[in-house]
């Protein structure tokens, strides 16, 4: 019989299913960052002058900033002059095409990822915008959505077709001065999704964007903007994967959500970027800024399942500006092997009777390091604001770490803030109990971890809850043996 520690140490070694690379002819900018590259990107996308100016302002501001070091993650210094800021399949580099003109290899790539884009094969009930490296490949169900006035398209297309909306809201929640990575993104962002739900419309299907990094040495800098006009409702999902490579690749996205009066936005993420190999070699640096602004009586829910990336650094937040607005954050973050995650949320209460809920489940296995970092800020005017936070950490094995950094600032005495935290270990006891009931160790660990994440998975749309469960199982493969 093996000793008890051996058993658990084996459970977290997995094969990354999406690590393939598609050999397509790619047009890229030379590596390096300067005003010339920014003009090149803007020119490629045929952008109006104001947008180029905005990018340049962001770039100039970025050059004055220092890369932050406060997050709990160790990584070698990134050479920003060694990154390719624009890469696109050759036939898509100069703008969107109809699906029939797209290189079949590109479509095959998405099919392999389970995201068919062809009319006859589309996912029922889910409209998808597929982004490969720096460009959008195509968006499904555009016409059907258009019939109820919903705009769902790539960001580049929105700049051309709906410049007023883009100009009004771009940078309104995450200004280009917000932080180092948001400034970088503002300067060089290439594509992403744009979504506008008109007044009183309930979006009839799930909207979704699938991000794929394919080209080597390139970074992905997408920008997503979702506007839910008064009394509207939308549920949006994003997924992401990348090939297996020994070098690290940078992904620095910005997502801005605007929920106007009485609107509701549900934003779900299943993040599965390449996490690096079992020795910590390679993997994506996922440095992302996500924030929503909630106007009167509106609601924004962030749900995230973070299993990929070598390093994850993100704090999807809600500015609860309007009275009675609601912000929610549900998170499962898994770190295995040498992955590091520093993630959490920011809930800023400005309006009266604003409410926020934070449920965070961190899972650490292998040598993974998992930190919850969250801010709850209640401003002076936020009378009767309420927050409930629950941060749980689960440890598998004895080489990993879990950390909690809650920041609470309360400036109104009528506010109620609750914070609960727990740390537990997947016990030998639990595993043996399952074994004794004929359940093999790997299945037992999956079951225990899925049970632990149940509160978060319940928040995901059904198909994605199943996907998230499956993903968690794959990511935990080999963590006990």
């Amino acid at each position: 019989m093996s000793t008890s520690t051996d058993t658990i140490e084996e459970v977290v070694k997995s094969e990354y299913k999406y690590g393939f690379y598609t050999d397509i002819e790619t047009e890229s900018a030379p590596p390096g960052l300067n005003e010339g590259i920014i003009r090149f990107i803007s020119d490629k996308k045929n952008e109006p002058e104001w947008l180029l100016e905005w990018r340049l302002k962001a770039y100039r501001h970025w050059t004055t900033l220092k890369e932050p070091t406060w997050q709990k993650a160790d990584y070698p210094k990134i050479d920003y002059q060694d990154i390719i800021y624009f890469a696109a399949p050759k036939d898509l580099a100069d703008g969107p095409k109809s699906m029939d003109e797209v290189d079949p290899k590109v479509l095959e790539t998405f099919e392999k990822l389970g995201i068919p884009l062809h009319e006859r094969m589309r996912l029922a009930g889910v409209a998808v915008d597929a982004v490969l490296d720096s460009v959008s490949v195509g968006t499904t169900f555009k016409k059907q959505l258009g019939e109820v006035g919903i705009i769902f398209c790539s960001f580049s297309e929105a700049v051309q077709e709906h410049p007023d909306l883009v100009r009004k809201y771009l940078g309104s929640v995450v200004p280009y001065t917000d932080n180092f990575f948001a400034s970088l993104n503002s300067a060089v962002f290439t594509d992403g999704s744009f979504c506008y739900i008109p007044k009183g419309v309930r979006c009839p299907m799930e909207l979704s964007t699938y991000f794929r990094i394919n080209a080597a040495k390139s970074g992905q800098f997408e920008r997503t903007l979702i506007i839910a006009d008064e009394d509207s409702h939308v549920s949006y999902l994003e997924g992401c994967t990348a090939p297996m490579r020994d070098e690290n690749q940078l992904h620095a996205a910005v997502v801005e959500l605007i929920a106007l009066d009485n609107a509701e936005i549900k934003y779900s993420t299943v993040q599965n970027w390449y996490p690096g190999d079992e020795n910590g070699k390679g993997g994506i640096y996922n440095f992302v800024t996500k924030r929503g602004i909630a106007k009167r009586n509106s609601k924004i829910t962030w749900t995230q399942v973070e299993t990929g990336s070598a390093i994850t650094w993100k704090y999807p937040g809600v500015i609860l500006q309007g009275d009675n607005s609601v912000g929610e954050f549900y998170s499962v973050a898994l770190t295995n092997n040498y992955q590091q995650a520093d993630t959490g949320t920011k809930m800023v209460h400005i309006g009266k009777n604003t409410r926020s809920t934070i449920i965070s489940k961190g899972i650490s296995a292998g040598h993974g390091q998992n930190s919850y970092r969250g801010l709850v800020k209640i401003l002076k005017g936020a009378a009767h604001a309420r927050n409930y936070s629950q941060c749980d950490s689960l440890l598998i094995g004895d080489q990993c770490g879990a950390h909690t950094f809650p920041y609470i600032e309360v400036k109104n005495s009528s506010a109620q803030v609750e914070h609960e935290a727990s740390t537990t270990k997947v016990g030998e006891d639990q595993i043996f109990y399952c074994n004794q009931r004929a359940i093999p160790t790997q299945d037992a660990v999956n079951m225990i971890v899925n049970g632990y994440c149940k509160d978060v998975f319940q928040q995901l749309p059904m198909e994605f809850a199943l996907e998230a469960q499956a993903l968690l199982s794959v990511s935990l493969e080999g963590s006990v043996g």
Binding site: Q436, A438, D443, Y452
Partner: protein
């Protein structure tokens, strides 16, 4: 003569260098119920854990044959698939995992092992509901997470319920009576008695005689300092109640 379900020969084991079992001999035939009694620290729970395949014990000698197989060579889940069941002294909580789902997974693993088709959710639900009725349990047990938030009595009852569902050939009940009030004890005992079958066997481990008022064993063994020092019929338990463990230990069992 029938083949024994389990045959333990001269089993010795230690934990972290300390010898706990010092040559245990025990043979159990189909249809029999045996009870092992003994004071704290005599090795009762160690014996149960080793039979179920728990990590952390070093077998220093002896052998265990289960239905003709070398039991100690099997992983815990293989033993479970072969029909070995341990009702835990301290049943483990698994938050967020629905009891029905847990049991269905366990049940189907065993069916798979036996080359039988797995039951789907509907078929399984029908099957477990009959078991719930048989043991007079509340149906909400099926909806709750495994042992999570259960009272001590509920946990023990849940063990017996799992035993009813998995229908083990050889069930070990490790101090199933500890922490139970008299009513819970009755329910649990009734369950155990209901599940008795001529082709199966049970091994009941207990500290107190009172359980044996409700579950009547065919044989009683006294385990003391890692050895079975006395064996007899059910009347041995009553004798033990009167004399206590000290009066029972023959001089030969005391180390020189």
């Amino acid at each position: 003569m029938k083949e024994p379900i389990i045959s333990i020969k001269n089993l010795s084991a230690d934990v972290e260098g300390r010898q706990i079992l010092k040559g245990v001999n025990l043979t159990i035939y189909p249809g029999e119920m045996h009870a092992i009694m003994g004071p704290n620290g005599s090795g009762k729970s160690t014996l149960a854990a080793i039979l179920a395949g728990r990590d952390g014990y070093h077998i220093s000698g002896g052998e265990v044959t289960y239905c003709g197989q070398d039991l100690l060579a099997l992983d815990p889940e293989e033993r479970a698939c072969e029909g070995v069941f341990l009702a835990f002294q301290y049943p483990v909580e698994i938050p967020g995992v629905n009891s029905t789902y847990f049991l269905k997974t366990a049940y189907n693993e065993i069916r798979k092992h036996r080359g039988l088709p797995e039951l789907d959710a509907m078929e399984f639900l029908k099957f477990v509901k009959e078991k719930v009725k048989l043991l007079h349990l509340a149906e909400d047990l099926l909806q709750r997470p495994v042992n999570f938030g259960f009272s001590g009595g509920e946990k023990k009852r849940n063990e017996i319920f799992q035993m009813a569902v998995l229908e083990p050939k050889f069930a070990i009940l490790d101090e199933t009576d500890s922490g139970l009030d008299i009513d819970a004890l009755k329910i649990v005992s009734e369950g155990v008695n209901t599940l008795k079958r001529p082709d199966h066997a049970q091994l009941v481990i207990t500290h107190y005689q009172r359980l044996l008022n409700f579950i009547v064993p065919d044989f009683v063994h006294v385990l003391y300092d890692g050895r079975i020092v006395k064996s007899g019929g059910k009347e041995l338990a009553l004798e033990l109640e009167e004399t206590g463990y000290d009066g029972m230990i023959p001089a030969a069992a005391v180390p020189a």
